[in-house]
């Protein structure tokens, strides 16, 4: 396990933010090196410096095999043997899966023209190693978040680099894909490839990592072989304070009053018999937290998109016992539904706007009884949420593009919670959120439920679903496969229902 | 010979401006009197190529006669020759393409009209002082001929200094801005030539404002074309004279001559000069177009 890359005294300052402060990191070949830290600790920033996307402040050094080097850009980094899966997906949506994987290194025929056949064939091979059932000629725009994430992984692996950086690769994946990924990582390690692995799922660190480096507020706290750390040590080093029990004791607040009643919900498309999601019936009670579980692509998101008016559907939706017509998200919102979408970049945030503007977009009326927006009230409320959710930002005027992934996710949650809808749908709500904040989000959901809100939680993180839900609905191939009361739900029974 | 009602005559102006609307009136009336079919095809811009396309379309349609006011003489030469060769009678009016082999040209000489304009100005300002030209589209051939005529006339008056020539894209709003800037940049300006249709109205409007009102007595203005606003400018004393060509006459003569050529009654054609009238306060009510 030879030392390949070293970072020494690396710092990075953004206007108003010191993201990294003299960080050291050593990456060895044939080793899985986990990087842990709270949201905004500087993990992604460090990786972007390693791949030439950012330039570090003067004073820091990067050495490859002992030689100092200046990494110019992503292409240069790749030439040096470093490839990365970014935390935020970066796919060209109008190109196909194969074209994305082979972008900028397309196989050519002797004539100089593209060798599409070969490209598709090789892409299919890469996809097969990840057990992905996606045609290489599918436009990426048609894939779900999880599928796109897998394509990113496939692409990074296919570069045959010496080091592969994975920035929260499993955030959008369900257990099944995560397991496949772990297998791949082991295989890569065996081939002598070094992996830098960033995740907020601590179990994964213990499952796969050989070594862990912990960042806090932009500084290295420690770097240890995995054998020397326990979960408690790790968490303490990350957050520097006592954490309440991760999954607090569950209290059920569900009443018998039906809040949302869905009957025969079916995707409306020209060829109805081919509709992927069909005949969904379920009820949500006031004060209930209803979990939705399923494998990637099972159709959970599509169900919620129909309820929220993003997709045309047939069937009936009743709220508070009255049937409602929902054609547009604004209709759903008017009927008291809120939706924390899984794709924060594409659907959740206006990246160019600041924290305050994104926060208030769902409930601007609250600050503008007439035409004008009361900026003081808006800022004050936003500050409250920034504080209570621990959103790390220099001010409410910071543009959200400049925030770390986890902090962006918290804003998406905040903007809906602040509206206090009757029904809150959260799709992968803790995607990219650190362990401390995750507990806070769970506590928040419980609190909202106790106040009488009905909450639907979609999560691919099975322990999370089990921890927060009063009831769990399992979706398989676009239908409800089974519904579990909390008492009957266990990892095994649910997995069984999702896969069998 | 064909029946009159089967004969199709097409007339192509340069572009949609009042002058050609008068031509249309003259030509349409003549066509009605003569009982022939009549088509008025207005190009959407002043580029030579646009007229070439229209000529091609008309050849495809096999019309019998075409009268055209040419935007750019050279570019239509080949296509007019082709039309003539395929048996279509072609003549030019208002603006000529001498080498195109067209049967005849009906109109005025823009150069001569410009010269008349220059002479009139020289007389009005007693042969000395600063003058400026306000034109329309910078590339327009007829306007350039008028400007050349003016310069030729002014060459005889060493004390007259042409201080500026400004384009306006034939846009009234731009013309007004340009006029204002001219008056400010050249406080001693004695005369303005409005060689395109916006020249007269724009200067009249500027001189009617409080700010430039005092210049009404010191600045002499000559313009082209009898737009209502230009005529009004003469009435109100802002404009000293308008060069008026005879568009209605041109339209009428074009149709008449084409018909005669089609019917074979006119075998040799000679150019027709329709002349220019200088319209001023004295003859404002009694000139023919």
């Amino acid at each position: 396990m030879s030392l390949f890359l070293e970072m020494r005294d690396v710092s990075k300052t953004f206007p108003g933010v010191r993201a990294l402060n003299k960080v050291d990191l050593e990456v060895r070949l044939g080793e899985v090196h986990a990087l842990a830290g709270e949201n905004g600790a500087g993990k992604s920033t460090l990786m972007k410096i390693m791949t030439g996307v950012y330039t570090a402040d003067p004073g820091g050094r990067i050495l490859i095999e002992g030689e100092p080097i200046v990494i110019r850009d992503a292409v240069h980094a790749r030439a040096l043997g470093i490839s990365i899966i970014y935390q935020e997906l970066s796919m060209v949506e109008n190109l196909t899966v194969a074209e994305n994987i082979f972008l900028a290194r397309e196989p050519l025929r002797a004539s100089g023209f593209l060798d599409k056949a070969r490209m598709n064939r090789e892409a299919a091979e890469v996809l097969a190693t990840l057990q992905m059932d996606v045609s290489p000629v599918t436009p990426v725009a048609q894939l779900s978040m999880g599928q796109k994430q897998m394509i990113e992984i496939a692409k990074a692996i296919s570069y045959r680099s010496k080091i592969i950086i994975m920035d929260e690769p499993t955030a959008s994946l369900s257990h099944h894909e995560a397991v496949t990924l772990m297998g791949q990582i082991r295989r890569l390690r065996q081939q002598g490839i070094g992996i830098v692995y960033i995740t907020h799922r601590l179990d994964e660190i213990f499952e796969i990592a050989d070594r862990v480096t912990i960042l806090r507020d932009g500084s290295t706290v420690d770097s240890l072989p995995i054998a020397e750390v326990t979960r408690d040590i790790l968490v303490r080093k990350m957050v520097d304070r006592e954490l309440s029990q991760l999954y607090g004791k569950h209290v059920c607040h569900a009443t018998s009053e039906v809040l949302l009643d869905v009957k025969g919900l079916t995707l409306d498309q020209p060829r109805p018999h081919q509709a992927k999601v069909k005949n969904i019936d379920f009820s949500l009670y006031r004060g209930e937290v209803l979990g939705f579980f399923g494998l990637i692509g099972a159709g959970r998101t599509e169900i919620m998109e129909m309820i929220f008016g993003m997709r045309a559907s047939t069937g009936t939706i009743a709220i508070d016992g009255r049937q409602v017509a929902i054609h547009e998200p604004s209709d759903a919102i008017a009927h008291g539904i809120g939706f924390v979408t899984e794709d924060r970049k594409g659907q959740g945030l206006v990246l160019g706007m600041n924290v305050r503007e994104n926060f208030s977009l769902t409930h601007l009326e609250a600050y503008s009884p007439n035409f004008f927006v009361n900026r003081q009230k808006e800022t004050a409320r936003c500050r409250d949420f920034v504080k209570s959710l621990g959103i790390k930002t220099p001010s409410t005027e910071q543009r959200v593009v400049n925030l770390s992934g986890g902090n962006q996710q918290k804003i998406v949650i905040a903007k809906w919670v602040a509206r206090s809808p009757k029904i809150l749908i959260v799709d992968e709500p803790t995607r990219g959120i650190d362990i401390g904040a995750k507990a806070e989000v769970h506590a928040l959901l419980a609190r909202l439920a106790s106040d009488g809100m009905g909450i639907i939680v979609i999560s691919s993180d099975l322990p999370e679903v089990l921890a927060v839900s009063d009831r769990v609905i399992v979706i398989k191939d676009g239908r409800i496969s089974q519904t579990f009361e909390r008492a009957q739900a266990s990892q095994e029974t649910i997995m069984e229902a999702a896969t069998a | 010979a064909k029946d009159a009602k089967d004969i199709v005559i097409a007339v192509i102006p340069k572009v949609a401006v009042p002058f050609f609307d008068d031509c249309n009136t003259g030509a349409a009336t003549a066509a009605k009197t003569d009982g022939v079919q009549y088509q008025w095809v207005v190009p959407q811009n002043t580029q030579g190529s646009t007229q070439v396309k229209i000529l091609e379309d008309l050849i495809s349609k096999k019309v019998d006669g075409i009268a055209i006011s040419v935007n750019e003489p050279k570019s239509v030469e080949a296509i007019i020759k082709k039309a003539m060769a395929s048996g279509i009678k072609v003549l030019t009016f208002d603006s000529d393409s001498p080498k195109s082999g067209r049967s005849m040209y009906i109109g005025t000489s823009n150069g001569a009209a410009g010269q008349t304009m220059g002479e009139s100005m020289a007389k009005a300002i007693d042969g000395k002082g600063e003058v400026a030209i306000v034109t329309g589209q910078l590339g327009a051939v007829n306007l350039n001929e008028r400007i050349a005529g003016i310069k030729k006339a002014l060459a005889k008056y060493p004390d007259i200094k042409l201080v500026a020539t400004e384009g306006t894209e034939d846009d009234l709003a731009k013309a007004v801005s340009v006029d204002e800037a001219l008056f400010r940049g050249h406080p001693n300006l004695k005369g303005i030539f409005g060689v395109s249709q916006v020249g007269g109205p724009s200067v009249a409007k500027v001189l009617a404002t409080k700010e430039f009102g005092a210049k009404k007595d010191t600045v002499k203005v000559f313009a082209f074309d009898d737009l209502p606003d230009t005529v009004k400018g003469v009435k109100e004393g802002f404009i000293q004279g308008i060069m008026v060509q005879r568009p209605v006459t041109m339209g009428k003569l074009s149709v008449d001559h084409l018909l005669a050529q089609i019917n074979g009654t006119e075998t040799t054609s000679a150019d027709v000069d329709t002349g220019v009238t200088v319209v001023d306060a004295s003859n404002l009510n009694g000139y023919t177009k």
Binding site: V53, Y54, Q347 | V17, P18
Partner: protein, 335 residues
């Protein structure tokens, strides 16, 4: 290495950093830079000709670019939503024609004005419906309206300007003064203030920015993005209609060619003032400054007696230089 104006870029480099001082509190860095470019141009022209910095000339210049500036207010809102309105010039011309037709048929002044405004609003509505209901791309929808509007003008006028008699009070709109300031300039300033406040301080303004910044995210947050877009096109049409009335009142002649090609000037004003055609970015003040820059250069080249044939090339070059400086400054600051 880094691209302008793509949201992804912004991840790498913030473009609007705060700068001290009062003015900057009001204007973003981007506008400040164009303003600097404008002041440099003004200084250069003033040095080369004594006629420039006179109240009369300045007021004249302001009045000259006021029509473009007024229309650029509607345009910048459209552009911020990520759209474009190519029909403004055409709508301005048609509105001035409709007003003139009103006077020609002897209708009362108020009715004629309403007619002009209604024309603008109708075209805006037409654009908006094509874009939000039929879902045509804005470029094609408004290009269609441009052709239809201009075609209607030719059909109505046959190329002959309409110059009906009008009451003196009507002429005040385009030709009158409030103190030393021409009425069109007053209208421009009033509109600037009103729409600047609308864009900065109201819910509607926020929704316009959100729609252009990320339409999907805005819609999922409950913003009726279709309605927002419909509204900005209607506003743009209405404002172009207003410009048409001011134009007719100023020249008392409805020209068939009036407003021809103005769309490019209007879009350029917004773009020079910092609006990004990708949407989400831009400001009303910026657009006005952009219109002023172009207008002042046009005045300067005539005052400085630059050869008329060279004027267009010089105008183009000066604008390129001005905006390049602006881009260069905000880059070196933001980096």
């Amino acid at each position: 290495m880094i691209v302008r104006d793509s949201p992804a870029t912004a991840v790498l480099r913030p473009r609007h950093t705060a700068v001290g001082g009062r003015v900057s509190a009001l204007l973003q860095v981007r506008e400040l830079n164009v303003l600097t470019a404008l002041l440099v141009v003004v200084a250069l022209i003033s040095f080369s000709t004594p006629y420039f910095l006179t109240t009369d000339n300045l007021m004249g210049v302001f009045r000259s670019f006021s029509l473009i500036a007024i229309m650029s207010i509607g345009m910048v809102m459209v552009i911020i939503t990520g759209g474009i309105d190519l029909s403004v010039g055409s709508v301005m011309g048609l509105s001035s024609l409709v007003t003139a037709l009103g006077f020609q048929s002897g209708l009362p002044t108020a009715v004629c004005i309403l007619g002009g405004l209604a024309t603008g609003l109708l075209f805006g509505l037409f654009n908006g419906v094509l874009i939000t209901v039929i879902r045509l791309p804005p470029f094609i929808a408004t290009l269609g309206s441009l052709s239809i509007g201009r075609g209607l003008m030719y059909i109505i006028t046959h190329g002959v300007p309409l110059t009906p008699d009008t009451p003196d009070v009507f002429a005040e709109i385009g030709q009158g003064y409030v103190g030393l300031v021409p009425v069109p300039v007053v209208i421009m300033l009033a509109m600037t203030i009103v729409f600047s406040v609308v864009m900065r301080k109201t819910r509607f303004g926020r929704h316009v920015y959100a729609t252009g910044g990320n339409e999907m995210a805005a819609r999922l947050s409950g913003v009726k993005t279709g309605r927002v877009k419909l509204l900005v096109y209607m506003l743009s049409g209405l404002i172009a209609g207003l410009a048409g009335i001011v134009s007719f009142s100023r020249y008392l002649s409805a020209e068939p060619a009036s407003g021809f090609g103005a769309e490019l000037d209007v879009i350029a004003a917004a773009a020079i003032g910092g609006a990004s055609l990708a949407g989400g970015v831009g400001s009303v003040e910026g657009a006005i400054i952009g219109a002023a820059l172009a207008g002042i250069i046009a005045n300067g080249v005539v005052l400085m007696n630059i050869n008329t044939y060279a004027q267009q090339a010089i105008t183009g070059a000066v604008i390129l230089i001005a905006v390049s400086l602006d881009v260069w400054r905000s880059r070196s600051k933001g980096a």
